[in-house]
Symmetry: C2
Subunit: 354 residues, 2 copies
């Protein structure tokens, strides 16, 4: 395996003028054809040293001519930089994180960094494994989306690597935290229902292990309190962010004959479940019951009826996280502003009928 396979070609070779097969070209070959030392090529590549226009041009044309692409693996070993960033998400197949991942991918692609996506499944041990793996892979930084790691571990991670983390507020050297105000979002949603005239508003809570879930519940309570609406604890029901839990929550309420005119589900997925439960009981949205979700997932737009919900800027979050990481990597102090929660009013809410 010491001797490399004979030939190699760019898959996009057909897009290039020079479409001949080529051997993997190294920095040494570039140096030779440009008549300089490998060190110089490296320095030009990295912008590490003063320019010498003549040589620079020779090198650049050699690079173009040979179609040289630096080997990131060698780069990683020698320089300690791999130009790759670990991205710990909770799930690769939740409708929620995808947009953030895409935002991150776009941002990094622009500047030649490669994201390494890996999922922690909302599990602290799993997540620890992810972090170890990413460090073993020598990533240059780590982005954690809604991690379960505790703050202390984040801080110690950050002693070696820049860290960007979402879903919490954490002040520490070498870490940027991006926090979306779930509280405000939930407050807005609840307040909107109150303004429509609702008083008996069910809250389907999210998984209490999520910080987000807690904040949203606080927002709900704060809004009711602020408007002087008594909180009926029987209307606050547990859920776990899944569609099924939303469905079961509403089934339960209905079975027990609870009275309510609106439902605020702590996320859209539970709202979908809730909607199905109402449908099964021939209750019409929004005529009989108003429904609000949280997240503004893509399916919400085409829910029946289209769901009123709190928009989470998932894609922008990804963009922001990537941008912050790049700034940290460049030694800059990131200044970012997180978008505010925004209630998207669609067709699942109306004034109560009675």
């Amino acid at each position: 395996m010491k001797s490399r396979p004979g030939k190699s070609q760019s898959i996009s070779g057909k897009l290039e003028i020079d479409s001949q097969r080529r051997l993997p070209v190294t920095i040494e070959m570039v140096a030779k054809t440009a008549g300089v030392s490998p060190s110089t090529v490296s320095r030009i590549l990295n912008g590490t040293a003063g320019v010498a226009d003549v040589k620079r041009q020779a090198v650049n044309s050699a690079i173009d001519q040979l179609g040289f692409i630096p080997n990131p693996v060698a780069r990683g070993l020698a320089g300690g930089r791999t130009l790759s960033i670990g991205v710990v998400t909770q799930s690769l197949d939740s409708p929620f994180y995808g947009a953030a991942l895409r935002g991150i991918e776009i941002e990094f692609q622009k500047v030649g960094y490669t994201p390494l996506f890996i999922s922690g499944q909302w599990n602290q041990l799993e997540e620890a494994r992810c972090l170890d793996l990413l460090r073993a892979r020598r990533v240059d930084g780590i982005i954690i989306l809604d991690g379960r790691v505790d703050d202390a571990d984040v801080c110690s991670l950050a002693r070696n690597l820049p860290v960007v983390i979402t879903g919490r507020s954490l002040q520490a050297p070498n870490v940027v935290s991006l926090h979306f105000s779930n509280f405000e979002g939930a407050e807005q949603a609840t307040q909107y229902l109150i303004e429509l005239g609702h008083r008996r508003i069910v809250f389907i809570a999210g998984d209490p292990a999520h910080q987000d879930a807690l904040e949203r519940q606080h927002g709900y309570r704060a809004a009711l309190r602020a408007r002087g609406v008594a909180i009926d604890e029987e209307l606050v029901v547990p859920g776990n962010f899944s569609e099924e839990s939303g469905l079961r929550a509403v089934e339960g309420l209905l079975r027990e004959g609870k009275k309510f005119s609106a439902i605020f589900a702590a996320n859209d997925q539970m709202a979908f479940g809730a909607a199905l439960a109402l449908y099964r009981h021939a209750l019409h949205i929004p005529d009989d019951i108003s429904l609000i979700g949280f997240d503004d997932l893509q399916p919400s737009v085409y829910a029946i009826p289209p769901l009123t919900t709190v928009h989470q800027p998932s894609h922008e979050m990804g963009t922001l996280a990537a941008t912050a990481m790049l700034q940290l990597l460049h030694g800059e102090r990131p200044v970012l502003s997180m978008p505010s929660p925004r209630l998207i009013v669609r067709e699942s809410t109306a004034a109560p009928s009675r």
Copy 2:
């Protein structure tokens, strides 16, 4: 940067008995404490050579004691293997591919391979860029989910790397193709509607640039023909796999006063759009119009009403693709059987009312 940062620690250190901070430990340190040469350690690590139980044990205990983790970057440079596999998906945030990505992740995690996810956005140029990037990163193999690359490029890729590709049938050395029968799935769906008594069945086509879309349309036509139902070309309407295109398709049909009792949308997302259009026109599913989708996305279960659809084994597809890749990597000839299409009957279909 030559001298490494002073200390480093495992994030999951707290889970270990020996929780002290540790320097990055290299194979050389392991060799020293085990009293053998680095070569021997390497060989034990890779199972590359005959055993010598005494040494093996010494090495293994040294590894445990020091908490040694091989550096994949160095490994990649020296051995030509990076233990990473490129995974080209079309989208990181489509509801469709997530499950496959997760299936792949799970399978690789078991054996210590790391997937490198990257998205091609259904764009051939973009995808070529992805492939180049993955090769530059020296991945050991590439999995392509529904790629736009043409067969010739896949073959030339496969001269250097094992390739697993879904969404087409391609016989070539060093490539495994996994093809799901969209044709049969569409046939089943259409046949089911016919059996229910439907004759005027709308087909909302997918993006004609997708092989899948074409196959599904063929399945629809074949089923009608087989049952002697005349094909009314006015009922075959264009779409592009998006919710909006499904909505527009149905709006158009309704506006033009076309008569039909059922709709088969080439994917679930268009079915959701179609459902919304029907809802807006106060047409009830399935009493007025039956609706079938394709893919069995997660939201379909909680659609209103729950959507009858053709199940696509997205997760299993991921598992299979990863398994096939592993087999190729081990020099085995993969023998895989792709699951057959399966119609999932839920509540959006019924016999026509008239």
